[in-house]
Amino acid sequence: MKQYAADYTPQEMLVAAGSRQLEDNKVIFAGTGLPMVGITLAQLTHAPGIIPVFEAGAVGSSLTRGLPLSVGDSRTSCKAHYMQGLSSAFELTQRGFIDIGFIGGAEIDPYGNLNSTMMGCFPEEYQKPKVRLPGSGGAGDMACSCTNTIIIMAHEPRRFAPRLNYYTSMGYFDGKPGARKAAGLQGNGPARVITTKALMGFDEETKRMKILATMPGETVASVQDMTGFPLLVDDNVYEFEPPTVEEIGLIREVIDPLGYFVKKTLKSS
């Protein structure tokens, strides 16, 4: 019998939800932070055959030396099968070796486009932005070229915006059919968005974001309340299973015991 955890943070729920979306035996590009934690959790639970790929080039690693603090640090090389230069991960992705890109984002729109560059008007304020974020890194490349992408992020109204300040990582553009292909992209685009509030997908036709499941304690209405644009709702919307005792134990004790990426304190979202 599955035992659900008695207490867990929204971030822990997020990681568990992310982990459960990952199919076994797939090649998965691990973005920095929560995606690394989610992949490791999946490897330790239902998907031991996952092949993680890190941005700086490590393929097939097992993070037995502890969670890397950077996708380029030496811990990503632990038990790796293959490790070439930085461009290697992008070249593998461009070729089609990566089944799933698992990435984060700062701002998202209804079509799964992401901003991780700036707040302010582009291009007018680009050289003097209101808030400057770190920039694309490799996420923009992965969003284009992985066969599918899964996005993991915190759910706040300002992060779910009808229009982005800047389009860093492309999802479904304006939702027009074939927009990705017309732009020259190869991957299928975002399959899932996982947040502290809900599991979402995209409507086949309109490519707009759609609630598939609500996180425990949330409702369609409470999710919509925290979202800066109208969400579609799947006909079979359901409540997501809470994290299990096993999942929470692995996150807290094995994968991220110091809470680098998954904060230990219980805080309300």
């Binding site: 700086a56 950077s70 380029g72 030496s74 930085l86 992008f90 003097k128 694309s136 490799g138 732009a183």
Partner: protein
Amino acid sequence: MFWSGLSPDDAREFLANKDKSKRDKRMTLTEAVKTFVKDGDTLGIGGFVNSRQPVAIIHEIIRQGGCNLTLNFHSAGLAPELLAGAMALNPSHVSIKRMEFAYFAHEFAGISSMFRYLAEKGLTELEDWSNYNMSARFKAGSIGLPFMPVRSPLGSDVMAGNRSKTMDCPFTGRPIGLVPAAHPNVGLIHVQEADIYGNCRINGQTFTCPEIAMASAHTIITCEKLVDHEIITANPTQTSIPFFAVDAVVEIPFGAFPGMCHDHYYFGQTHIADFKMKTEAFRQGDARGLEDYYHKYIFDVTDFDGFISQIPYQELKYSRQAEGRSLDLQKFLEVY
């Protein structure tokens, strides 16, 4: 077309006329920076985020001063942030005119406050690319091509806002991006091992360091350890950078600290957190801590040994132990 650093034709011409002989290239870092780094130069920064960043070289550039610099890198934290901090403190001594880059932050340690400071005040020109774009730009430069084709991030504001071009592929008819070569004036690279001629071995991930070294007009190498030439020739497939792409070789142990260096040391997390706190304080109006940092570690010492010798031995020891094996981090942080 605007080229920072050298244009492809100029870069080729410069290299064709350069002395590529195999000779002893050891010198002090003071001498290397004095000889090769000039005001107005474009600098190619090696490493990835805070791994194998050329921290020692950056310290020396800050010590000597350098104005109107253009920085080229994919993902970096400490190296450009140290330059940005120096500029914020005294723009007549160090100034960054322009940055061409993909990601500027500390990853686990958060955003780069000095980058935010410069960017949000509009004090430096920005040109965003993706990591793959910047890798491809250095790659093109390193192999003598004027551009590389790329499939990402097509359709984004990244490619709309930079000097890349999009064309229809003449073979498939589908859109393809073209990113122009990058040829920095000087490549700044820290490696684990080099011989006196400049043949370099990089352990672990090479990132884009070989490409940066081979694309640049001049390259300064710092290494953890100088090794015998015979070690290089015993296994030439492990040489990441060939000697004829290198102009100066300087042995600087801990040359990437407080960043990490594969097989040598893990992150100096305490030091990075302290630096990060001081930069954030500066951004919020309190310059004192950051001024002290620069004086203590850079301006009041003559070389990088002067910085490293101020790092508590326990911290250096820990960073060596934490590299390559699992330590009980929690316990360390409690007892330290």
